[in-house]
């Protein structure tokens, strides 16, 4: 590592450690004012982390201490619950939401078209993919599709703020990389190294050659990619096109976002899932090392 990279890491680490003061600290004291209807409703969509209850910060200025966590509460109204899995795509999310609410999936797809109403950050460029944050959401049965999706976007923004994403020069690229990391990593522990491979390949102008992007282009979820698939004419086909795909290919969780922001230091340019059963992934720097891993994967697979 050289002094420049060390400096980058040091600054990123310092920025990460600092929890910013609540926004209210920077505002002059004024009588409380109601926020827009959708955002207020989004704050009412209570988010639970997968596996446990997590507090949701409301941004409502009515609260005396806006940074104080508001405990997740089901409320008096009847609620639906939907879980956005890490790495899930919005197409599948709309199906899940449709099942949970009885609304047709199209009404969610339609609601997703209005990025402004969802509160998407500008760098989402109006697309929901990548910005529906994973987690378990509970919302009143009266919630509209827009309010439900806005709740997921609000959770993304909170996580992104916590990670200092918006102060980066290319936050959209970070989310795209995180979506690739999420789709390609068998376990969370692999994520920082997978992120490093993506960064290193981009820095060297290599094609990313990631199957997850081809599958996304094909609208498929699982399974291998054939030689025929690799000819797919789509900007998502990273075997054909250099650089990142035009948008996220999944909705990444916090670990993947963190990995995209802080890849593990290392020289690797390749990775291979050598044991799909156990989810073992191995990393290689040279073409020869890569060929060896690929051969091993073929034998075991």
């Amino acid at each position: 590592m050289n002094v420049e990279n060390l400096l980058r890491e040091t600054l990123a680490e310092m920025a990460d450690e600092q929890v910013p003061p609540p926004p209210a600290r920077f505002l002059p004291h004024r009588p409380a004012r109601r926020r827009g209807a959708v955002l207020a409703a989004a704050a009412a969509v209570v988010a639970l982390a997968a596996g446990g209850t997590v507090a949701v910060r409301t941004l409502s200025p009515e609260a005396d201490r806006p940074e104080a966590p508001v405990a997740a509460r089901p409320g008096p109204e009847r609620t639906h619950e939907v879980t956005v899995e890490e790495g899930q795509r919005v197409a599948r999310l709309f199906d899940d939401l449709s099942r949970a609410t009885g609304e047709p999936a199209e009404s969610f797809a339609r609601a997703a078209e209005d990025g402004r109403a969802l509160g998407l950050p500008p760098y989402a460029e109006g697309g929901l993919e990548g910005f529906a944050h994973p987690g378990t959401y509970r919302f009143p049965v009266s919630a509209t599709p827009t309010e439900i999706l806005a709740g997921m976007v609000a959770r993304f923004r909170e996580t992104a703020d916590g990670l200092g994403l918006a102060s980066r020069r290319a936050p959209r690229d970070v989310v795209i990389i995180a979506s690739l990391v999420q789709a390609e990593s068998p376990t969370q522990a692999d994520m920082p190294k997978v992120a490093r491979v993506i960064h290193n390949r981009l820095a060297r102008g290599m094609r990313l050659q990631l199957d997850s992007t081809v599958l996304y282009g094909l609208g498929r979820y699982r399974g291998g990619v054939t030689v025929g698939d690799l000819k797919l004419r789509s900007p998502y086909n990273t075997y054909r096109h250099r650089g990142l795909p035009p948008g996220p290919v999944s909705n990444p969780g916090e670990a993947a976002l963190r990995a995209a922001l802080h890849p593990a230091p290392g020289p690797w340019l390749h990775f291979v899932v050598t044991d799909p059963e156990r989810g073992t992934v191995e990393f290689a720097t040279t073409g020869e090392e890569f060929a060896e891993l690929a051969e091993r994967a073929r034998r075991s697979g």
Partner: protein, 170 residues
């Protein structure tokens, strides 16, 4: 005060104060100084709100104000930044200890740079801006940015001799 303006200011602060604070912290190395810096840049920006209008221009103005204030601030007071050494070394696990050590050395070395040098490094290596952009933002010549950054990096290397012992990847 115009209610539209007030709502827009509030929204901007809710959306952006976190990111602004982190940058301010890197510039100052001190939470209180960082809060002051954000607060004062916001106040100056609020006064020019109407002329700026679009959110991107507003953020650009706040940031530029922060950089300028920080660079001129050092004439008035010098700041000592404490690095809480023990705690951070403890946290780093076995294999990572060496790297964590280096980052600590780096922090201490950063605190010995002038605010101008430090600001340029934050712009270059945290915000990832080009030398041309930095020159534009600070109102100095590109050549001056280049030489100052070069000199700062040399100083960092000198204050952390372990750095030269670090393996180069590739």
């Amino acid at each position: 005060m115009d209610p539209g303006f007030e709502a827009a200011l509030r929204q901007f602060v809710v959306d952006r104060s976190g990111a602004l604070f982190r940058t301010a912290y890197l510039l100052t190395g001190d939470r209180h100084a960082a809060e002051d810096l954000v607060q004062s840049a916001l106040a100056k920006t609020a006064a020019r709100w109407r002329a700026l209008r679009d959110p991107e221009a507003i953020e650009g103005y706040v940031r530029r104000t922060m950089y300028h204030e920080q660079v001129s601030r050092w004439r008035r007071r010098s700041r000592v930044v404490e690095v809480s050494t023990d705690e951070r070394i403890d946290r780093a696990g076995d294999g990572h200890a060496e790297a964590a050590d280096l980052r600590l050395t780096m922090r201490a070395a950063l605190s010995r740079l002038t605010p101008r040098q430090r600001t340029m490094l934050v712009l270059r290596y945290f915000e990832d801006r080009s030398e041309t952009e930095i020159a534009h933002l600070l109102g100095v010549r590109v050549g001056s940015v280049r030489s100052q950054i070069y000199r700062s990096l040399e100083r960092l290397k000198k204050s952390a001799p372990e750095l030269s012992a670090v393996r180069e990847f590739r």
